[in-house]
Symmetry: C2
Subunit: 295 residues, 2 copies
């Protein structure tokens, strides 16, 4: 049944953002699902020279880490040329730092290296523009969990189709993330827009999202102890004016594996578009969902 898949070129992933937690999780997911991990990756300042990624089934891959500077371009170029000379599709994955988003995107464009951008922040307009202007294959998505993306798309559609359907309802939002996350959940902020359309009346202010960052409150919210260092839990509650009707929507993620799986889906999707020479070049996770090319 899977014979047609074998026809595709094999894929090499350059996992920029190693040796971060997300980078490691992604590199492992790539290996688990049959992608090759390039032996070089961009990283931040003051990082080790290399990192070893363990495979689930034993064995490991060592990746040389290249900090900011002129070496970055040279080494990425080498990795790209090496992969291409072997008939492979090379795709960069970016889970680095908000301050590196635009610099890295410009480098990918300069090298003609297709990329999946999972890093949030930076100048998003400039990011979209540099890719669009240069016709590079890229997939940009602030949230790589495909189910959350589907749920967001659904709420967006409901809000546009039935604005005011929850007229007179009150709204409460609580989100919990590992203590290292300083800002408010981007997903929760996006949901506020849709929920405000649904309820009408006085808009809910994103400042009123309840952020949990202390372990005691997080455990009271239901987060298991072993997930305190990496989780993304969200609860949205809509309550009718008289209190007789309550709607509650939750999406609770422990760890980073589901995002890493989504990244591999995104890389495979982009590689398939490159392989077929698609006209469209710039994608997001909705395109991946619609294509149904998911595991």
């Amino acid at each position: 049944m899977s014979a047609p898949k074998k026809m595709k070129s094999s894929v090499v992933a350059v996992v920029n953002g190693l040796p971060g937690n997300m980078g490691k999780e992604i590199a492992q997911a790539c290996l688990r699902r049959g992608l090759e991990v390039a032996d070089v990756a961009l990283t931040g300042a003051n990082m080790p020279k290399d990192v070893t990624v363990e495979k689930d089934d034993g064995g490991s891959v060592t990746v040389n880490l290249v900090g900011p500077g002129s070496e970055a371009e040279t080494q990425l170029k080498e990795a790209l040329e090496k992969g291409r000379s072997e008939g492979k599709i090379v795709v960069a994955i970016d889970f680095t730092h908000p301050s590196a988003v635009n610099r890295n995107a410009e480098l990918y464009v300069k090298l003609g290296l297709p990329f999946v951008m999972g890093t949030t922040g930076g100048d998003r307009e400039a990011l979209q523009k540099v890719v669009a202007d240069n016709g590079l294959f890229a997939l940009i998505a602030p949230n790589m969990c495909k189910q959350i993306v589907a749920f967001q798309a659904m709420m967006d559609t409901m809000a546009s189709t039935y604005p005011g359907a929850f007229g007179g309802y009150g709204l409460e939002i609580t989100e919990s993330h590992q203590s290292g996350k300083a800002d408010t959940s981007g997903t929760a902020k996006a949901m506020v827009e849709y929920l405000n359309k649904l309820k009408g009346g006085d808009p809910f202010d994103v400042e009123d999202i309840k952020k949990l960052r202390e372990s005691e409150a997080q455990q009271a919210f239901g987060v298991p102890a072993e997930a305190l260092e990496g989780h993304a839990w969200h609860t949205y509650t809509l309550k009718s004016g008289d209190g007789s009707v309550v709607f509650e929507f939750k999406h609770n993620v422990c760890g980073r594996r589901t995002y890493a799986e989504g990244v591999v889906d995104a890389v495979n999707f982009l590689a398939a578009r490159i392989n077929e020479g698609a006209d469209k070049k710039l994608y997001d996770m909705i395109d991946v969902l619609k294509a149904g090319e998911m595991q």
Copy 2:
């Protein structure tokens, strides 16, 4: 601002299903929102001769109850002719019994009495057919809570747009209703269809919906003591294969007021269509939602 609304004919509601709990709640909602309640209503066998509906702001309306038999037709016809002679739009509301659905619909068609059918059960195909064949204005909806209808429509859309987006996820459904409700929630059963499309794989069986009908289990589920005699609580849980991601959707209704409000929305919607002489005759709650003619 509300001047254009005054141009509409006023509306008389025949609240068939009095003196049941739902009928009373609807009659009260009609009076609260400025509709007239007809002084006659169809009821079941062995019911009292009349019922008094209390208004929220004092005062009351007495309604004569007509059991099954030849009197039903005569009295409904009188109510219809009386309302029309006064330039009013008369609409029947049906919250009776599954066994009366088709008989009542045929009577409404015979009299040319537009109706809102909230009673579930009976032969649904025959119900739709008799209305369509005769071009009578009618609104048929097994669930009158507009927010639940919007949520169902959203899940339906998500399932059609992104089938398999929740591939590998497990599903659990728990619903709680007052102990008098013998069958499984129709809303939960409808949701199973959408959720099965989303998760793919082995389909979830409606037989596996967990039904709570005992007060102890209901209160453990969170139902307040004062809502034990009338509530509709639903929780749908989707969990990823590795357990790291959980989605939970809840819609919890205490009492019957939100349904009664939805019925009044439906009656007002249908009266507006009659008033403007719309080409389309047969509607459901999605039409009401889309029209945005809601309170």
